[in-house]
C-alpha cells in the first residue's frame, strides 16, 4: 500500500502537526505576542466597506491602557453608572461561577462550566446590544443572562436539574434557555448556533424588523463546517448579525493552532468572505463594548454582518470534567499579558475616582451573598440525584407537540416502573 512504490530522490515531505509553545512545567514567555498599545487603533466609519478595513483583522482594538485610562477613538465614553453596572455584572458572574463550581464538587450536580477571565466577552457584548436583540450563545456566555436580568435562582434550578428547573431536568447543567430574554437554547453540539443566528437575522431583515442577532462560538469550533456555512450565508444575504469568536486559546486540550491560529487571526476569516471583521482585546470590557456597538450600529443600518474576534484566555478548566494541568503550563494564566477583565475595569473606575477598594470589597460581599442565597433557595427545590424531581410524564412531553400513541405507551411503562422501583 503506502510503501509499495519506490520513493523518489526528491526531498521528503513532512507533516506539520501544530504544537503549543508551552506545556506543563514550561516557563512562559509571551514576548512574541503582538499586543499593540491601547488607543492606537483607527475607528472606521460605520459605513466602511469590508475591503477598506482589512487591516483591522490583524490589529487589536484596545481602550484601557497600562495606567487604567480609557484612551483612543474606540473609547465608548460610558457614564459611571453603566461602567459600575458592567463591573457589578462581571463580578456577579465570577462569584456565581466559583460558587456553582463548588456545588458540583460537593456532588450537588453533574457538571459545571466557568467563564473565568472571559466575562467581558459576554457581559460587554450583551450590554452593547438592545435587550430585544437575539442572542445565540455557546456554552460559556452565562454573562448575557446576568446582563438581561435572568434570576440567579432559575440558573441554579437548571444546574441542579431540580423540580423548579424550567427545562424540566432535561438538559446538562448550564445549557440554559430563555425565550423571554431572547437567549436561544444552548446546544452541546458545537457551532450549530452559527447558521441559526444568521437565519434569524435574515428573517428579521425579510420582515423589516429592527432587531439584530448576535452569536458566539469558541475559536476551536470555527473549524466546524457550520461556522463556514454561516459566514457564507451572512455574506450572501448581508444578514444583520454579529458573529463573535471568543478566542480563549484552548479548546479542551487543543490550543488555538488546531483551529488555524498559527497562520492568521480568527478575525481574518472575515476577509475571505468579504465580511467586516474586528479583532478586540477580549479582556478589555470597554473595547469589547465599543466593538459590539460599532457592529450593532452597522447591522441595524442595513450594512450587514460583522465578525469579531475576542482575544482572551480560558483561565480555568474547560469544564468540571477537565484537568488543564495535564496539558498546559500553569504560568500561562498568571502571566497572561492582557490581564483580567474585572481587575482592569475596577482599576479604571478607581482611576476615574468613582470607585474604591472598600466599595469593591462591599460589592464582592454583596455578590457572594446573592449567589449563596440563590443556591440555598434553589436547593430547596432539590439537587441532582436526590429524589426524582420531575414527574415521569415530563420525559415524554415536548418530543412532539402532541404525544403519539407510542410515547403514551412508553410513558405508562415508565410510570409503572416508577411504582416498582421507587414505591411511594
Amino acid at each position: 500500500m503506502a510503501d509499495e512504490k519506490p520513493k523518489s530522490n526528491l526531498p521528503p515531505l513532512t507533516l506539520h502537526v501544530p504544537e503549543p509553545k508551552f506545556r506543563p512545567g514550561d516557563a512562559v514567555d509571551y514576548s512574541d505576542l503582538d499586543i499593540p498599545p491601547a488607543g492606537a487603533q483607527v475607528r472606521p466609519d460605520i459605513n466602511t466597506a469590508p475591503q477598506d478595513m482589512r487591516d483591522m483583522v490583524y490589529d487589536m482594538i484596545r481602550v484601557l491602557d497600562d495606567d487604567h485610562k480609557a484612551v483612543g477613538p474606540w473609547d465608548p465614553k460610558l457614564n459611571d453608572e453603566i461602567l459600575i453596572k458592567m463591573l457589578r455584572t462581571m463580578v456577579q458572574v465570577r462569584t456565581f461561577d466559583d460558587r456553582l463550581h463548588r456545588q458540583q464538587r460537593q456532588g450537588k450536580t453533574s457538571f459545571y462550566m466557568k467563564c473565568t477571565g472571559e466575562e467581558a466577552t459576554s457581559v460587554g457584548t450583551a450590554m452593547a446590544l438592545h435587550g430585544d436583540d437575539m442572542c445565540f450563545p455557546s456554552y460559556r456566555q452565562q454573562g448575557i443572562l446576568f446582563v438581561r436580568g435572568y434570576p440567579m435562582i432559575e440558573m441554579v434550578n437548571q444546574i441542579f436539574s431540580n423540580k423548579a428547573d424550567k427545562l424540566k431536568g432535561r438538559q446538562l447543567p448550564i445549557m440554559y434557555s430563555s425565550r423571554e430574554l431572547n437567549f436561544f437554547t444552548v446546544s452541546g453540539n458545537l457551532t450549530t448556533q452559527y447558521p441559526q443566528a444568521v437565519g434569524w437575522a435574515m428573517a428579521s431583515a425579510s420582515k423589516g424588523d429592527s432587531r439584530i442577532a448576535a452569536v458566539w462560538c469558541g475559536e476551536g469550533s470555527t473549524a466546524e463546517g457550520d461556522f463556514h456555512a454561516a459566514m457564507t450565508f451572512a455574506a450572501v444575504y448581508n444578514a444583520p448579525v454579529i458573529m463573535n469568536v471568543v478566542n480563549n486559546q484552548w479548546a479542551i486540550s487543543s490550543f488555538s493552532g488546531f483551529a488555524g491560529a498559527e497562520r492568521t487571526t480568527f478575525a481574518a476569516r472575515g476577509v475571505g468572505y468579504g465580511i467586516a471583521a474586528l479583532r478586540v482585546d477580549g479582556n478589555d470590557p470597554l473595547a469589547v463594548y465599543a466593538a459590539t456597538s460599532w457592529a450593532a450600529e452597522r447591522a441595524r443600518t442595513n450594512q450587514g454582518p460583522t465578525l469579531i474576534e475576542h482575544f482572551t484566555y480560558r483561565a480555568e478548566a474547560h469544564s468540571t470534567s477537565d484537568d488543564p494541568t495535564a496539558y498546559r503550563s500553569a504560568q500561562e494564566r498568571e502571566e497572561w499579558p492582557l490581564g483580567d477583565p474585572i481587575m482592569r475595569l475596577k482599576r479604571h473606575l478607581i482611576q476615574r475616582g468613582v470607585w474604591s477598594v472598600e466599595q469593591q470589597e462591599q460589592l464582592d460581599a454583596e455578590c457572594l451573598k446573592a449567589v449563596k442565597e440563590a443556591v440555598i433557595e434553589a436547593a430547596k427545590n432539590g439537587i441532582l440525584g436526590h429524589g426524582l424531581h420531575q414527574p415521569f410524564e415530563t420525559m415524554f412531553q415536548d418530543v412532539f407537540e402532541e404525544m403519539p400513541w407510542h410515547l403514551k405507551e412508553q410513558a405508562a411503562q415508565a410510570n409503572k416502573e416508577r411504582e416498582i422501583k421507587w414505591p411511594s
Binding site: A2, S110, G169, Q171, L172, S187, N189, G385, L388
Partner: protein, 340 residues
C-alpha cells in the same frame, strides 16, 4: 496476560497495531498530547510521534473526510469522534463516502478505517453525551458496526476492525469503561479487575468480526444484547432465576445470524435488549430476522426492551435507562407460561 479495564484494553489494541503496521495512524479531538478525554490514546503520541497520533481541528466532517483521503493514499487511519453524539457533522463523509468508496470505484479505492467513538448513557451526560446511534449506521450499506462489552473483546475486536479492509464503526459503551454494569446505578462500580474478562493478552490477537458470543447458556429464552446491556441483561436473568441464554452480538453488521437462529430454535423465545431508542432501533431488525427465520419455533411473541423514544434526559436518566425493572418485567412476560 495483563489485567486491563476497557480503556486500557483499547489503548493496548491501538498500541499493538501502531507497532505492527506503520500505516496505522490515530487522529481526533484531544487524542494527541492529552491522550483523549477518556484516556484511550494516552501515551501513544509520546511513543509513536506526532505524525502517527495527533490532535485535529474540531471538525468531524474534516476528521472523517481526511481519513478517507488517508485511506486512498494507503494508510489505515483510526479516527476518534469524541462522543458518538458529535458524529453527525461527519455523517456525509462516513455514509456517502467512506462506506461507498469500494462500491463506486469497483474496488479501486477502499476505506480501511476504524472510527472509534464512545456511546451510551449512564454518566449524567445529558442528551449530547449519552446517545446510542448504532442503528443509524447499521442502516448504511458498506459500513460495519462493532460494539464490545468486555476488555478482552474490546482489544480483540478493535484489532480485527483495524485489520479489516472495510470501514468499521467501533462504538465503545462508556458506562462500562471502568467496570461492568448491572443496571443498579446506586451500587458502586465493580472494577474490571474483579472479572475474568479483564485478563487481556499484551500482544496481538483478534476476536473475529461477525461472531457473537453466548455469555450464558440456557434453554428458557434467548436474550440478544450488546455493549452495556449484555451485563444488565445477565444480571437480571440471574436475579429472576430464569434459565435464559444470553447472547452478546459484539458485531451488529455483519451479524452472526447462525448463533441467533440456533439459540432461538432451541429456546423458542426471544427477547432483545438495547439502550437506544425503540423506533427503528436495531431491535426492530433483529425482531424481523428472528421472525423470518424462526417463526415456526416461536412459542411467544418476541419482546423488545429499549430506551424510550425521547432524547436522553439529564435528571431522569435512570428512569430512561432500560434497567432491571423493565427487563425483568419483559422477561417474566415472555417466560410466564413456563412458570405457571
Amino acid at each position: 496476560m495483563a489485567v486491563m479495564n476497557m480503556i486500557e484494553a483499547i489503548n493496548s489494541g491501538l498500541e499493538t497495531m501502531m507497532q505492527r503496521d506503520e500505516n496505522v495512524v490515530i487522529m481526533g479531538e484531544d487524542v494527541g498530547y492529552f491522550g483523549g478525554v477518556f484516556r484511550a490514546t494516552a501515551g501513544l503520541q509520546e511513543k509513536f510521534g506526532k505524525t502517527r497520533c495527533f490532535d485535529t481541528p474540531i471538525s468531524e466532517c474534516g476528521i472523517i473526510g481526511a481519513a478517507v483521503g488517508m485511506c486512498a493514499y494507503g494508510l489505515r487511519p483510526v479516527p476518534e469522534i469524541q462522543f458518538a453524539d458529535y458524529i453527525y457533522p461527519g455523517m456525509d463523509q462516513l455514509i456517502s463516502e467512506a462506506a461507498r468508496l469500494r462500491y463506486r470505484s469497483a474496488g479501486e479505492f477502499t476505506a480501511p478505517m476504524t472510527v472509534r467513538s464512545p456511546v451510551g448513557g449512564g454518566i449524567f451526560g445529558g442528551q449530547t453525551h449519552s446517545q446510542s446511534p448504532e442503528a443509524m449506521f447499521t442502516h448504511v450499506s458498506g459500513l460495519k458496526t462493532v460494539i464490545p462489552s468486555t476488555p478482552y473483546d474490546a482489544k480483540g475486536l478493535l484489532i480485527a476492525s483495524i485489520e479489516d479492509n472495510d470501514p468499521v464503526l467501533f462504538l465503545e459503551p462508556k458506562r462500562i469503561y471502568n467496570g461492568p454494569f448491572t443496571g443498579y446505578y446506586d451500587n458502586p462500580v465493580s472494577p474490571w479487575s474483579k472479572f475474568a474478562e479483564s485478563e487481556v493478552p499484551e500482544g496481538h490477537y483478534t476476536v473475529p468480526l461477525g461472531k457473537a458470543k453466548i455469555v450464558r447458556e440456557g434453554d428458557a429464552v434467548t436474550i440478544l444484547a450488546y455493549g452495556t446491556m449484555v451485563h444488565v441483561a445477565k444480571a437480571v436473568v440471574e436475579e429472576h432465576d430464569i434459565n435464559a441464554e444470553v447472547i452478546d452480538l459484539r458485531t451488529l453488521v455483519p451479524l452472526d445470524i447462525e448463533t441467533i437462529e440456533e439459540s432461538v430454535k432451541k429456546t423458542g423465545r426471544c427477547m432483545i435488549v438495547h439502550e437506544a431508542t425503540r423506533t427503528s432501533g436495531f431491535g426492530a431488525e433483529l425482531s424481523a430476522l428472528v421472525q423470518e427465520r424462526c417463526f415456526y419455533h416461536l412459542e411467544a411473541p418476541i419482546e423488545r426492551v429499549t430506551g424510550f423514544d425521547t432524547p436522553y434526559p439529564h435528571s431522569l436518566e435512570w428512569a430512561y435507562f432500560p434497567g432491571p425493572v423493565r427487563i425483568g418485567e419483559a422477561l417474566e412476560k415472555i417466560v410466564g407460561d413456563l412458570k405457571s
